[in-house]
């Protein structure tokens, strides 16, 4: 303990993403921390509600918070179990949580602990590596488009079988040297970031449907990608 030497290394883990109704994000953070998680980031967004009447009335979006937390692989099960069984979160309804495999999380480890406990961490992670993935049942579709198109994309995705999604406001960047100035301010493109979790078999048709949204036909309007989801669950429901 006397001579602390810090080394940086990348360790594999899981990104747990939880989506709940606005202003309950801190509750989720508390649960994750209680289960051994270290910290996280809360982002605001709006979720869509899958309800025909609500859609017709224009009442189909709801303010939500997205909670991003990186956890070690060993405690992933504990974190998910805690989220699923927490009564307070369960009562909110409409919450979801899922995990994404992360190859490397930047970590700083104290040398002295790395000698005894630290090497164990490295070793145990090396063991678990490779056997985590494989049987993903869901896929995460992420789309980043120019501001204003998110609803059209959600509509298309829904028609192709998606149930709901979450939209975050975001800002694009401009290439250096191509900045557009307007007096004191630099104009940057506004973006919307949409994430949709779908069963694996529906991913293909939904991606295709998004591709065919008319406003995306011009080049440079947006990008889309998908990745495997480790585990997906509705909060407040017994195991799924």
């Amino acid at each position: 303990m006397d001579q602390k030497q810090v080394i940086s290394t990348y360790l594999p883990g899981v990104l747990v993403l939880t989506i709940v109704r606005r202003s309950h994000g801190e509750k989720v953070m508390r649960v994750v921390k209680g289960a051994g998680g270290r910290g996280g980031t809360i982002v605001q967004g709006r979720g869509t509600i899958n309800n025909k009447l609500a859609h017709l009335l224009g009442l189909d979006s709801e303010a939500v918070e997205l909670i991003f937390t990186l956890v070690d692989r060993e405690i992933t099960d504990v974190v998910f179990a805690a989220l699923r069984t927490d009564a307070e979160i369960g009562k909110l309804g409409n919450g979801v949580s899922f995990g994404l495999d992360v190859q490397g999380i930047l970590r700083r480890i104290h040398r002295d602990s790395a000698v005894n406990g630290g090497t164990d961490i490295l070793a145990s992670n090396a063991q678990t590596e490779g056997k985590v993935m494989s049987q993903a049942e869901h896929e995460l579709i992420a789309v980043i488009v120019n501001f204003g198109f998110a609803d059209d994309i959600m509509d298309a995705a829904r028609k192709a079988g998606a149930t709901g999604g979450t939209i975050m406001n975001a800002q694009g960047t401009v290439r250096a040297g191509e900045e557009v100035k307007f007096f004191g301010i630099t104009i940057v493109p506004e973006k919307e970031f949409i994430i949709i979790v779908v069963p694996k078999d529906k991913a293909e048709p939904i991606l295709k449907a998004i591709q065919e949204v008319p406003c995306l036909s011009e080049p440079g309007v947006g990008i889309a990608f998908s990745m495997d989801v480790l585990r997906f669950m509705q909060l407040g429901q017994k195991a799924r």
Binding site: T41, F149, V188
Partner: protein, 505 residues
Amino acid sequence: MLPTLTHKLRESAVSVIPIMALVAILHFTIAPLGAGQLPQFIIGGLLLILGLAVFLIGAELGMVAFGQKTGSALTRRRNLPLILGAVMAIGFAITIAEPDIQVLGKQVHAVRHSIDRQTLILMIALGVGGFLMLGVAKTVFQLPLRWLLVGFYLPVFGACAFVDAVFVGVAFDAGGATTGPITVPFIIAMGVGVASAAKREKEDDDSSFGWVGLASIGPIVAVAFMGMISPATASPEDSAAGEMAAEGLVERFLLHALPEAAKDISMAILPIFLIFLLFQATLLRLPAGQMRRMTLGFLYASIGLVVFMTGVSGGFIPVGYSLGVTLGTMGGAALVPVGFLLGAVVVCAEPAVWVLNEQVEELSGGHIRRSLMLAALSISIACAVALGMIRVVTGLSIWYILIPGYALALGLTFFSPRLFTAVAFDSGGVASGPMSSTFVLSLALGASFGAGGNPATDAFGMIAMIAMAPLITIQLLGLIFKSKAKKLGEMSRRQNEEPGNVAGS
């Protein structure tokens, strides 16, 4: 079935029920209401809850969305004369439409007959438009808000020294009253929209806020100016309060309050909706789905506001007035504490406050919570109404409160974080919406009448104080935040040093 609606209904119920509870408690203890007034008040309260919920949904879908899109679309055109012209036109149109301004016109006319109502309203609308242009300049040229505020408030106070005291109260009331539930969501959203097209370069970024605060100066200047140039044929004897006699039964909601509210609100929403159609055709060109959504939003906002105003004018104003009379005869010992409690709960039912708080929460990334804003506003309005009641009882000149208050508020702009300064000055205009300019004001008028004071000088100025208090408390909140954030920064830095920490905030 409709989670958005039930959720909003629950929220607005939580914000209105405290007022109802307070009045009910008063009714059963020290200040019993007249026959039939309690049911009248309860019906009014229920209408308030329903109206507030529907309005908030509509404002978010319609006015806020439209304001933001307009703001960012205008900025993207990079044409300064176009932006300034559009903002001036919008500011002018929505101010003339705002129902509160018509009420204010009547009040001013009652205080000084030589002033023509139409001229006054035109002047105020020009004032709002002009100061909104200043808001654009602030965001585009990144002018420091504190200097703009100091630079305009000081001359305003200087000019007010030449205007008689009655007029000062009305002028500052005008500043708070003009920014009501229709203008506020739109103005805030437009500021946010203009700023959203820009890259964020500062850590303490205030570019999204401050427009409402600036817009509130316009009416003060306009009214004070009118007061200076108009010949002093003062006849303050006839106050606007006389007509509020107790009248019929529950049907007054349907026969009087509802048609009047419907007329006022449709007059107010229509110009904004027309501007929306014009902009949609020329500037925005939104996809059909969004167009439908926004139109629905405008519709909901109007319906909600009509229901809300029906509840206010049918239930809350008459009950407020007679409650005021009863309390007024009991003197300051009853009035001041009741005023304090009332102020604390009344702000929660103010529609525009919710819109502001949501925008603040959103743009601070959840950093400044809605509940925190509401608590700060609640404390400040409580103090403001209590102070206002002291004035009702003692007849203290408004100068003794406004000058130290604004001196403190302007002084704090140099210490508080910029974001909080901007939000504070916005809150000033926002907090003084239809609840305070009707319910609280009529209660104060009643109290002044009951206490045997002069309603024209003592009760007016109440809105001015409600508009002033948040300037101080929100900035103080900013100071607290600043010291906390410093600690938090140190903490998370230390945490990052610890073994195996992952992404912080």
